[in-house]
Structure formats: C-alpha cells, structure tokens
C-alpha cells in the first residue's frame, strides 16, 4: 500500500508539472485559479506544522516538539539557513526529552 501511494503521488506530481508546460497560458488569467493556487501551499504547510507539533494520534498534546518548534521559529527570525533551523529544532526536542 505504501508503494502504491508513493507511485500515485509521484505520477500525480509529474502530471501537474507536465500540465503546466503543456496548457495554454490563459488558465492563469482566471483570478480565482491563481488565488486558490497561491493560498493552498500556505494553508497546507501551516496545517502540517500545527498537527505535526501538537498532536499524537487523535490527541492534542504539548510536548518536547513544541520546544523544538519554538527554537526553530527563533532561528528562522534570525534568518538562519534551512539546515540550521531543522537541526536546532531536533536538538532542542532531544534535550528536552533528556531533561524530562
């Protein structure tokens, strides 16, 4: 099932790329299409951050991951590079678990 989902995702993502290069430009002129398309990544990423940090299974929780996210936000505000943001978050969460 995991392989099937990987294949379907890869094919879907590829077809979207190909469609972009193949479709007439006029599709972009529809303001609604453009507007939704600009908002979807923002909404998805924000929801992923929230659910990956504050839930376990079907329960809402606050644990070491919240400390990791806070650290990442601080690093991001200081314009740290991607790998630094991610690594600091992991280290912070690991340290909080060690201490707890």
């Amino acid at each position: 099932m995991l392989w099937g989902a990987i294949a379907a995702g890869a094919i879907g993502c590829y077809l979207l790329k190909l469609a972009g290069l193949s479709l007439p430009r006029g599709v972009l002129q529809d303001r609604r299409v453009g507007s939704v398309a600009a908002l979807v990544p923002v909404a998805l990423l924000a929801t992923l951050i929230a659910t990956q940090t504050f839930s376990t299974g079907h329960h809402l929780t606050v644990d070491a991951r919240a400390g990791g996210l806070g650290t990442a936000a601080a690093a991001q505000l200081l314009r740290a590079p991607f790998l630094v943001v991610v690594t600091l978050a992991a280290v912070a969460a690991a340290l909080i678990r060690l201490a707890g």
Binding site: I6, L18, L23, G34, L44, A46, T51, P81, L83, V85
Partner: protein, 222 residues
Amino acid sequence: MIRNALGIGVATGAYGLSFGAISSGAGLSVLQSCVLSLAMFTGASQFAFVAVVGGGGNPFAGTATAVLLGARNALYGLRLSSLLGLRRRARPVAAHLVIDESAAMTLATESYRSGRLGFWATGLAVFVLWNTATLIGAVAAHALPGPKELGLDAAVPAAFLALLAPRLVSRRLWLVATTAAATGLVSVPFVPAGVPVLLGALVAVVMGARPPPPGGATGGSG
C-alpha cells in the same frame, strides 16, 4: 549562471539530507526514500508525504497532500513554457525539473538564453545533489538510534516552518495560515489521521475563491 546553479544545488543538497533522515524516521525504507526523491522530485510534497505516513495516516492521504502541494509546479510551468521555448520531445524531460528553484532561477533572468541555461543548469544540479543527499541522509538515519531520541519528530515541523516563513508576505496569507492550522488542529480528534491536513487545504480553497483586489496577496514562488 552555472555557479549560481551549483550554489542552489548545494543548498538543496543540505535540505535533501534532512529529507532522507526524516523519511527514515517516518518508517520508510532507504529505497522508498530514494524513489520519492527520484520520481516525485519536489521537496515540500515529499516532506508532506512522509509526515502523513509517519503520523500514522493512510498513505493515500499522504498522496493527496503531496499532489495538492505539487499544484504550484503547474503554475510555474504555465509561466515557464513561453520562456523556455521547448521542443515537443524535450517537454516530458523538462517537466520533471520544474520545481521551486529552477522556476525561480529562470523567471529571475532577463534574456531568453540565460533563462534557458538557468533552468537546465539549476534543475539538473538540484536533481543530482538532492538525490545523492537523500540517499546519504536515509542511510545515516537508519544507522543511528530511534527517531525520537534524535528529535527527528521535531525536525519535521521545523522544516515546514522554514518553507512557510518566506511565503507569509501579507496579512491575508497570515490569516489563511492561522485559520488553516486551527481548522486542522480542531479536527484532529474527530477524523482519520492525514485528513486534518486536507481540511486545512480546504480553507485555502474557500478563502481563495474570493480573491482580493488586484495587486493583493500572492505567495507563489519560493
């Protein structure tokens, strides 16, 4: 131009290392992580896929999330096709390389020639380094202790945060982000794993169907 392309390739290589490690932490095999990088080849979608799978969601909910995030590549393609002047036969190959980085490099240049060079150089550099880094990250993470001891579960939202932050350039986008996140969280106890993320996307569809006046929010490239 080539040097810029390589620079971007190296930067995304670093990002590929974290993808390989996080993907392993989510329970994917080295082969599965590498196939994702080779065949899906669009970073945010790959991170989203492994996040849903790692969170215990139905893998096909991961597919839906990945494909929704991949929709922005179609928008890049629409803007790139006239700039690249692709022959019919080159199009299927070029399509695979349409990602954030190659689109940004192409759209940032002024001339037709440097735009084309930027697209192919960036696309190929990122492809090679992204896939090499995924393999290294995945193998390394499999050799190390459990994902929780390493804090890898906290690395996932941090990666999404780093992808999201540069996009939050207007009040409207902040509003969409917070509404979507709240919707997702509230639904967690009631719907199957993986579905809260899709409900978050629904917020974008509802709010995007009422576009702001021209000159308002855009948040496409990154």
